[in-house]
Every structure is written in structure tokens, then in C-alpha cells.
Amino acid sequence: MLAGYSLGELGSIMAMQGFAGLILFSVFVLMALGLAVIFGQMGVINMAHGEFMILGAYVTFLTSKLFTTYLPQAFGVYFFVAVVLAFIVAGALGMLVEWALIRRLYKRPLDTLLATWGLSLILQQVYRSIFGAREVGVDQPDWMMGAMNITNSIQIPINGLIVMVLTTFIAIGVYLLIFRMGWGKQVRAVMANRAMAGAVGIDTERVDRITFGLGCGIAGIAGSAFTMIGSTSPTAGQLYIVDTFLIVVFGGAASLAGTIASAFAISQARSTLEFFLSGSMAQVIVLLAVIAILMIRPQGLFVLKVRR
């Protein structure tokens, strides 16, 4: 079972795999936050969410190319510019999609599933036509490629740390936006009761559009983070969307804290198990565990206790 590792080695493996899990966790949290905000607010399951993430990854790729060509001396900071651009581009496309497609389908929830799935196919083909079917790798500046040696046997990659800090800021930002600011009050009112929110004077269509844009924009940032752990291809988003749905359902669809906790549990379990077993066995065990827990708690991990 221990595969011949000593206890000390095992500790180091756990720590490093745990950290690798944290990067995965960061991407999942960003993806799931966007998905949960959109689902919670509009009841729309955005099947194209993975493609919005990949859009962010391609934007990051293009930004890195631009910096290499025109601003090589500033290449060290291109990533932060790319994050902002990825958010803006993915968010803008999200708002356009909401305006052109989603808002016509609010009364037909199953059709939004089909429509966003179609959208995901269209986007994949667009990426394929523009960037080619082959994976593109994003060059990282030297200072982000290194690792910190905590002990002799534990190394922590710097780009992972950056991704985690970024994710933390965005998660806190989303929390503040939704629970502390006026805008979030409108979002929560629409989430609770759309018709009634309109009847107290909230412009629900405007709230919808901006929320959808926000969710897609956060997926774009997830794409920026993704370029550090995987290579970008037109269909790479598909690999993440299933896990993201799993996280949202497991966490309890209306709970931010639940989303974060479940992203943590799932990505850590995956990452730690993957070291000892094959990737697909790890996935199977995680899925079985999630199914078992959801049978006991169908509402997900976190539920608000309040009379409805």
C-alpha cells in the first residue's frame, strides 16, 4: 500500500501533491464560482463555461505573444495584464451571449442547456479555425518558472503560488460583491424571486446580463491560471466542465462557501489519489464518494437554514 516509501518521503509526497492539488483547486474554484453565480442567479446551466475558460487561456497565449514581439523587456509582468484582458474579453463575450441567446430562453430552462451546448461546439470550432487544432503552450517568464525549496524534499512551484493568491483575491472579491455591496443585494434578490425583484423595482434584465458577464469573466481568469498547469487546445475546456458541475452540485448550488469547500475536497482527493493510483481510478473513487455523500445529503454540503 505504501509502495515502499518511508514515512518521511510520504510526508513530502503528501505535501507536494497537496500543493499540486491546490493549483487544480484554484482553477476549479474560479470555474465553479462563475458557474454557481450564473446557475444560482438565472437557473441557467452554462454548458459553454469550459469554452469561456479556454477563451481566457487563448487570450493569455496571445498576450504572451504580443509581449514577446513588442514589449520583451516587460515580459515578466505579462501574466497580470493577461488576467485582466482575459476577464474583459470573456466577460464581454458572456454579456453578448446573454443578450443574443440566453435571455430569450429564460422561460425554457432545458433549451438553455441545449443552446449553451451548441454554443460550446461553435466556440470550439472557432478556436480550431483561428488557432489550429494543436495545443499551444504559453511561455512563462523565468521568475515564475522556479520553485521554492521548503525542505530538501519539498518543492513548491512559484507559478502555483501566484495562481493561488490570485484565486484568493477573486474569491474574496466575489464574496464582497455579493454579500457586502449594493450590487450583490440586487443579485440575491433576483436569485430568491425573480418576479418579486422586478416588482420592488430591480431591473432584472440588467442584473442578469452583468451577472452572466461576471461569471464568464471569472471563467476567463480561470483560463489564464489554466495556462500554467495545462496546454491550451480547442477542446481542453471539456475536460474541466464535468468536474466543475460536480463541484457545484456537491457544494450546494446556492452556497459560495460550499462551492469552495467542495472544490477543495474534490481537487485534493483527486491530486493525492492520482499519485498512488492511475488518474482514472482516482476519478472513479472521487465520483463514487461524491455519489455516496449526495445520497445522504441531496442538497449538497452547505445549506442555508431558513424558512422558505
Binding site: R188, A195, M196, A197, A199, G201, V306
Partner: protein, 237 residues
């Protein structure tokens, strides 16, 4: 029958509304004066809630006009009707259960882009100030009703719509509610349209009563002329 009052604030003409293909309201005509309380009575299924929902724009009207101070609200979505001065307290209150009492009231402030809850709202409903940090869903029925009214008043309306305000509320609180509604009218000069099945409450607050039956207004009386037996007959099941 002509009833003397100030200039009409709300004028509904030929209003038809319903769900899908079926029409529930067949060409309603009525008016509401400034600072007038009009109570619409009728049995279940006669179209009271449908009327309220079509006035606030939750269901689209199929014909006719709804004029508030001369402006036709018919083509506007709910939130723009609220901006023009309509406010709505729905049947079952429909407060936002996971939000605090204070946040619930604040949802009514966005339409006029104000930030502060007017202090006179808490004067009107002191219990809401005590409970402002509690979640709305954890209040009692009567408290939720006060919260729903406070939320509607936060939009600074000129016409307040109340759909079955006494439903699920203790008798002692119903009397208090009637006092509060008259006080709101007296202090703010706003007009109130309430739908009601409880005749005693209707008689308590109404300046004028309309009887809705089968989607039509079949009877109209000023408060002074109301013959209780006649109206009670319309309400009898």
C-alpha cells in the same frame, strides 16, 4: 354611479389579462383617486390576484390601458412601473427569505438610487428595526407582512397594491394592520388598492369597494353606502 373625489390617480380602462390562452379578467374599468383606499373583494378564483399581478406587470395585459398620473404603464416592465410610482405587496408576502430584514427593505431603494432607508419606515414598523439583522425568512407571518409593506414603501410609491394582506395573520394583528394602512395613507397621501376576502377588514379600511366576480366588476359602493348583506352575498361560497 358617480362618486365625488379628487382627480383620478390611477385609471384602468378595458383591462384584459390572463394566463396563456385563457382570459381571467374581461375588460375591467375602474379608477382610484389620490389618497383613496379602494378594496377589491371577491371569492377565490374571481381574478383578484390576477388583477394585482397585471397591474404591477408580473403578467402581461392582453388589452386596455393602465394609466398612472396620465402615463400608460401597459407596455412597461415591472421595475419601470415601480419607478413611475406603483408598489406591490404580493399574496404570501414573498419577502427574500435568505436576506436580512434591512437588506430586504434596501432592495426597494435601487429604483430611485437612494442609499439610506428613510427613518420614518422604522417609525412606522418599530419591530423591523429591532429585527433588522435577522433573516427575513425567520420572521413570523405578521412581521413578514410588515416587512413586505416596508419594502414596498421604500420605493416611495404613489399607489400601493396589497394582495390579500390579511391572509395567514392573527385577528389581533389584522386590526393593527388596518390602522397602519390608514396611517400610511393619511401621512403620505398615497392611494391604496387592496384585494380582500375578509369583509370586516375591507369595511375597516375602504373608502370604496369593488366586487370582482368572474373577472368582471359586478358591484361598486362608497364606504358610506355599503350594504353589508349585499357584499356578503358576493363573498358567500
Amino acid at each position: 354611479m358617480a362618486i365625488e373625489r379628487e382627480a383620478d390617480r390611477l385609471a384602468v380602462q378595458g383591462l384584459r389579462a390572463g394566463y396563456g390562452q385563457s382570459e381571467v379578467l374581461h375588460s375591467l374599468d375602474f379608477t382610484v383617486g389620490a389618497a383613496e383606499i379602494v378594496v377589491i373583494v371577491g371569492r377565490n378564483g374571481m381574478g383578484k390576484s390576477t388583477l394585482m399581478k397585471s397591474l404591477i406587470g408580473m403578467i402581461p395585459s392582453k388589452g386596455g390601458t393602465i394609466r398612472l398620473d396620465g402615463v400608460d404603464l401597459g407596455p412597461l416592465p415591472s421595475h419601470e412601473r415601480v419607478a413611475k410610482g406603483l408598489a406591490y405587496v404580493p399574496q404570501g408576502r414573498m419577502i427574500f427569505p435568505a436576506m436580512t430584514v434591512q437588506e430586504n427593505i434596501e432592495t426597494g431603494l435601487f429604483v430611485h438610487k437612494t442609499k439610506m432607508i428613510p427613518p420614518d419606515l422604522y417609525t412606522l414598523f418599530p419591530v423591523l428595526q429591532e429585527m433588522r439583522r435577522r433573516r427575513g425568512g425567520n420572521l413570523s407571518g405578521g412581521q413578514q407582512q410588515q416587512l413586505a409593506i416596508a419594502r414596498a414603501l421604500a420605493t416611495n410609491p404613489s399607489v400601493l397594491l396589497l394582495d390579500e394582506p390579511t391572509e395567514g395573520i392573527q385577528p389581533s394583528i389584522i386590526q393593527e394592520l388596518a390602522r397602519t394602512l390608514r396611517r400610511i395613507r393619511d401621512e403620505r397621501g398615497l392611494s391604496i388598492i387592496a384585494s380582500e376576502q375578509v369583509l370586516s377588514f375591507a369595511l375597516d379600511i375602504a373608502d370604496r369597494m369593488l366586487v370582482l366576480e368572474g373577472g368582471r366588476i359586478v358591484h361598486e359602493d362608497a364606504r358610506a353606502d355599503v350594504d353589508q348583506a349585499t357584499v356578503a352575498r358576493y363573498l358567500a361560497v
